[in-house]
């Protein structure tokens, strides 16, 4: 980096900070009682110090002074990669699975609670991964299918006394039907129009949950939903429910993995890369896109049924747009189309914030900022999928 470039960078940083101060001060400093500067400068001070520190660090790194630290890390990473590729897949998988099975036996209630949400979001993330990652259809109303699954189990079990295990496939089917209903009219559209229409559908579903008093009890939600049972034995401990969702999650992972490497999965990827070319090669794009919606919705339906059984309560507040955005962020952060990527994304966005509980208030702020930052510096995600190209329609 030349002195010229360095100067330019510091200038940009300075202008950015001044701009930030101008935007921040009116929000904090103008009170009816008078103008106030202390609070603004305190917040601004933290941010400015952090920015200068990052800039400084970046410059040192660019100048190569950190190579002494960086090179061993890079080579260690390379060796780890080599080891990972050499080890048979089944050994790695059984280590992970063994850890997942032993986990609740050695941890407490709080850890069970967090790990259950992680597994629920893994199901959701992998389901959305089919739609967004494999078929390349941006869906911003995905959480609606999760809601459909949850309400299906809640209503079926309360009104007809049906067991969880019977309701689970039914919830999957109803969610798939809902997915097809949403998919059918929207699939003529592409890109961001599709995104906004799915968002609209998601909101419509939430409004129906919220307003159809006779069916869903409106904003009050449905209470005292029965827990799942096995041969009459009620699963009334949290760690028992952990195993239920673990099984569902493992089935989801296997199903998505098999789908990914099947004829259907390849057809989806062909649609993602270039829809027109795929159609010319004989892929039935309409049917396959509809199938992607239905399959994605099915997994959300399973997760939703479990969610209703675990919380023993469903209400429309659990299915807002923000939840859709969260799941989408997990998929994008981890790496679209990549199963380990999505799992990493879920861990990063569900488990990691638990470590910083005292900063709970700033969670969504950091989350939004991270989403933008990720798109700027690493749009392919933490663990990118191996087979991803560039959409031809975007190439020009």
């Amino acid at each position: 980096m030349t002195t010229q470039e360095s100067k330019k960078l510091w200038m940009a940083c300075g202008v950015g900070l001044i701009w930030f101060l101008i935007l921040l001060w009116p929000l904090l400093g103008i009170q009816p009682e008078g103008l106030e500067f202390g609070k603004t400068f305190k917040v601004f001070g933290y941010i400015a110090v952090a920015a200068v520190f990052i800039m400084f660090f970046y410059q040192i790194k660019e100048a190569g002074h950190l190579d002494a630290v960086g090179d061993p890390i890079v080579s260690a990473k390379g060796r780890f990669q080599e080891l990972y590729e050499k080890t048979p897949r089944w050994i790695l998988l059984s280590i992970v699975l063994g850890f997942a099975i032993v986990f609740p036996l050695v941890t407490g209630r709080y850890a069970h609670d967090v790990s259950i949400s992680v597994l629920i979001y893994i199901c959701l993330g992998l389901g959305l991964n089919i739609v967004v990652g494999l078929a390349g259809l941006l869906d911003l109303g995905y959480i609606a299918f999760y809601g459909v699954g949850a309400y299906t189990y809640a209503l079926m079990s309360l009104h007809f006394g049906m067991s969880f295990w019977l309701c689970l496939p039914i919830a999957g089917v109803t969610a798939a039907v809902a997915g097809s209903i949403v998919g059918y009219p929207t699939l003529r559209m592409r890109g961001d129009y599709l995104a906004i229409v799915t968002l609209g559908f998601g909101e419509i579903v939430r409004l129906i949950f919220n307003n159809w008093m006779g069916l869903t009890n409106g904003p009050n939600g449905i209470l005292s939903i029965p827990r799942p049972d096995i041969f009459g034995f009620e699963l009334n401990k949290l760690w028992m429910l952990y195993y239920v969702i673990l099984v569902i999650a493992v089935i989801t992972i296997i199903a998505v993995y098999r789908l990914n490497f099947s004829r259907i999965g390849r057809a989806w990827e062909a649609i993602r890369e270039d829809e027109t070319a795929a159609e010319l090669m004989g892929v039935n794009t309409f049917l396959l896109k509809l199938l992607a919606y239905a399959m994605g919705a099915t997994f959300a339906g399973f997760a939703g049924a479990f969610f209703a059984a675990r919380m023993r309560f469903v209400g429309p507040e659990s299915f807002t747009f923000l939840e859709s955005a969260m799941v989408l962020a997990m998929v994008v952060l981890g790496g679209m189309g990549s199963i380990p990527g999505v799992i990493l994304g879920v861990l990063a966005l569900v488990a990691l914030p638990e470590l910083f509980r005292e900063f709970e208030l700033y969670r969504m702020l950091v989350f939004g900022g991270t989403m933008t930052l990720m798109m700027l510096i690493r749009p392919a995600g933490i663990w990118p999928a191996s087979r991803v190209g560039r959409r031809s329609e975007e190439a020009d």
Binding site: G16, W19, F20, I22, L23, L24, P26, L27, L28, I30, Q31, P32, E33, G34, L35, L138, P185, T186, R188, M189, R190, G191, D192, Y193, A195, I196, V197, L199, G200, F201, E203, I204, L207, I208, N210, N211, F321, L322, A325, L328, A329, V332, L361, Y362, M364, L365, F367, G368, G369, T370, M371, T372, M374, M375, L376, P379, R390, R391, E393, E394
Partner: protein
Amino acid sequence: MEFFIQQLINGITLGAVYALIALGYTMVYGIIQLINFAHGEFFAAGGYMGVILISYLAAQGLHPYACLGISLVLSMGYCALLAMAVEQLAYKPLRQASRLAALLSALGMSIFLQNGLMLTQGVYDKPYPTEITAGGFEWGLISVSYMQIFIVGLTAVLLVALNILVFKTRIGRAMRATSQDKVMAALVGINSNRVIATTFAIGAALAAAAGIMVGLYYGSVNYSMGFVPGIKAFAAAVLGGIGNITGALIGGLIIGMVEIFAAGYISGEYKDVFAFVILIGVLYFRPTGIMGENVDDTRV
């Protein structure tokens, strides 16, 4: 009949607000083909700046109308600066990236700004000093408040100003050229970065005015107030034909009318659904909207 006319008046008022927000969406989409998710947040930020400034200026003993006028101008300026900052940080580096990346970046910015507002202004509704525009006319059962006249009048003024800006000035011509063909516009010497920044600033300023109007009309602002009107305004922009300024006005009025009439005659609880249904219907049957020209394959 009185009820109908009353609803018509309310519909025009709400439609004017949607039209102002829709203009920002439509102008940005027309130039860089991006759904600016953060636009709803500019609207909310405008509403908040309005209440902050009005309360401060009123405490200094200024005349209420002066308070309102100054706050309006300053809030519009504030949101223009905010939009330019967001554009520089989150969208400009992604001009050449995939559309999905840009859209997600916009979504991230929207969540970031919404929570920034929440952290600085609190979770609860902030009351607006509505007494500035209290009162109104009444003819029998029909009533028109000063507030409604203020909203519709200000919208008209802003629209005329925007029309002059876009069709009579140099920067307006540059904007239209860039939205027609970015490469060609750059070849004839138009600085497209500056044009895009200006477009964001103008759109956000209009949204800020809408934010103050909504704050005055409903009597309070909330940090999450940008989301639903944002989507409805986007529906209005699509209905009118995205990229088209007149279309945004027509679309906004239609969405506002539909919402008010649906609430009055069909069901108040489902009033939000109708805007979404219109959005889906338009995109399905006529993706170019009412005033839209032919759009190429990638846009639809």
